[in-house]
């Protein structure tokens, strides 16, 4: 912090007023920047010898994951514990559902057990919105169906900013199965809010819907969001890219008739060294994981990505600490769609 007699006015601090974090679509650029600054502070905490602060002492954070996911679940658990919260981990599986316990019943039970905040991941789009209607505390969406994964998008943005400075005007390419990807949708909201030049690329069967979305936002975009480009031309997408994010392609997509084969996808759309050569030399390669090496990303490119992965893990804990911290404040008004 500069100690010279600076007379520049300091920017007004945006207060976090959202009771829940269900998606990035309702965050303004100022709120996103607040998350970034708070994440900086959390990274500093993580660098200390004792990487723990008492900010959430006495707060019960219940982690309710309906989908198996070790990486994200542990990231949230470590984040909550670093803030001295009491953590309860529930790995609900679909068998709870077949046993007849509805999502609403589970949320009510979790509330009765003392949860102040719930971090949830669910396989059905929209599930956290239902939870937010019946839970008196805060809901943090850890991923719902194909719809949203706000902490991942914010973590991706944080990592991009760490490497590129501001993402405004930088070319970011998301390559792969966007149709079924909550990471892709959330990144569209956050990157267009941050003013990046976003490109979405994949086979036409997988792009449908996104081209209409891009068309709706064309020519000026939506208020607070820049337009973005959708194309199945991999070379045009990757040319001079600053960031390339490859998304996982799943076998089920072939079974649903969307693609002829994974081999064909790898041949036409896989991120290889040759394809990556048209991007900027220092282009950042990212993948939300887990990777199918040889399908959406070639093994020799995956090695380049590896250095970013460790960074992503630390950034992930820091971003999640920031989100838990911001959500833990009291909330004078409940806001719809938030």
């Amino acid at each position: 912090m500069a100690m010279s007699a600076s007379r520049a006015p300091t920017p007004p601090d945006v207060a976090w007023r959202k009771k829940h974090l269900l998606d990035v679509d309702v965050l303004s650029l100022a709120e996103i920047q607040l998350v970034m600054r708070t994440t900086d502070a959390m990274k500093e905490v993580l660098a200390r010898p004792i990487s723990k602060v008492p900010a959430l002492r006495g707060t019960n954070v219940t982690i309710l994951f309906y989908e198996a996911s070790t990486r994200t679940r542990v990231s949230f658990e470590v984040a909550a514990k670093n803030l001295s919260a009491d953590v309860v981990n529930i790995a609900a599986s679909s068998s709870s559902v077949t046993k007849g316990e509805s999502l609403v019943d589970t949320i009510r039970t979790v509330e009765a057990l003392g949860a102040d905040m719930i971090v949830m991941r669910h396989g059905t789009s929209g599930a956290p919105y239902l939870a937010a209607e019946v839970f008196s505390g805060s809901i943090l969406n850890g991923g719902d169906g194909w719809h949203a994964h706000p902490s991942q998008a914010l973590l991706d943005l944080y990592t991009m900013r760490a490497h590129l400075g501001d993402v405004r005007g930088k070319k970011v390419v998301i390559l792969g199965d966007v149709l079924h990807s909550r990471v892709a949708r959330s990144n569209v909201w956050s990157l267009t809010a941050a003013g990046a030049d976003l490109w979405i690329c994949g086979p036409t069967t997988i792009l449908r819907g996104f081209d209409a979305w891009a068309g709706r936002w064309a020519g000026g975009g939506s208020p607070g969001h820049a337009g973005f480009t959708v194309t199945s031309d991999v070379e045009a997408a990757l040319r001079d890219a600053d960031v390339v994010m490859a998304l996982r392609l799943q076998r089920e997509r072939m079974d649903a008739g969307l693609l002829p084969s994974l081999r064909e996808y790898a041949a036409r759309f896989g991120l290889t060294r040759e394809r990556l050569a048209v991007a900027k030399p220092a282009a950042l390669v990212m993948h939300p994981g887990p990777m199918n090496e040889g399908v959406e990303i070639a093994p020799d490119v995956a090695i380049l990505d590896r250095s970013v992965i460790t960074e992503q893990v630390t950034n992930g804990v820091a971003v999640r600490m920031a989100l838990l911290y911001l959500l833990a404040g009291g909330h004078p008004e409940a806001v719809t769609n938030a």
Binding site: M1, M3, S4, A5, S6, R7, T10, D13, V14, A15, W16, R17, L34, R37, T38, D40, A41, E44, V45, R48, P49, I50, K52, V53, P54, A55, L56, G58, T59, L83, Y325, L326, A328, G329, G330, H331, P332
Partner: protein, 184 residues
């Protein structure tokens, strides 16, 4: 800002100089001293004290900034989470004498939080406290070692410290809390 002015720029300057002499006198020198300013306005004050010490002792003391937001005891009571400013400590605190610097000492809860934060960074040999203004009304058993000015206040008053580095001027004012909002 409205309200009654209780310290002018010159008075602030002289208080900083006096405090810088006092803390060197108490330490019988400058060895082991670290100045840690509490965010936000404690930080420029800590830097000014270090500059004053350098002028009369010829020694540059290390200066750090401490954000106590995560250690506040009232986080669950307030409307929104306060925005974090950040902590930077330039040296290892183990075995050092830390002088905490803040602008106003009131209930003592900020200092309590600051001490909790400091022990997470190491084990100082001693912790001392220097403040520009002590306005009384302690709620915890905390006292300052070095005080710029003692100002008796009532609980419906607010003490506002302005510093050039942040506010563009140097002044300390008292204002009643229920005073009408200043027109801008």
């Amino acid at each position: 800002m409205d309200g009654r002015q209780i310290m002018t720029a010159d008075e602030i300057r002289r208080a900083v100089i006096r405090i810088s002499h006092e803390l060197v006198e108490k330490q019988a020198g400058t060895d082991g001293l670290v100045l840690v300013g509490i965010q936000r306005r404690g930080v420029p004050l800590a830097h000014r004290i270090a500059v004053a010490v350098e002028e009369h002792e010829g020694v540059t003391l290390p200066v750090g900034a401490l954000d106590i937001t995560f250690y506040r005891d009232d986080l669950s009571l307030i409307a929104q989470q306060p925005v974090v400013k950040g902590t930077q400590l330039p040296v290892d605190l183990n075995g050092r004498t830390v002088v905490l610097v803040d602008d106003v000492l009131y209930t003592g809860r900020t200092i309590r939080a600051a001490m909790d934060a400091l022990v997470d960074f190491g084990r100082p040999r001693a912790i001392r406290l220097a403040v520009l203004v002590d306005r009384g009304h302690r709620e915890l058993p905390i006292r300052a070692d070095h005080v710029g000015k003692n100002v008796p206040t009532s609980s419906d008053e607010v003490v506002e410290v302005a510093l050039v580095e942040i506010d563009g001027e140097d002044a300390v004012r008292i204002e009643r809390v229920d005073a009408p909002a200043p027109t801008t």
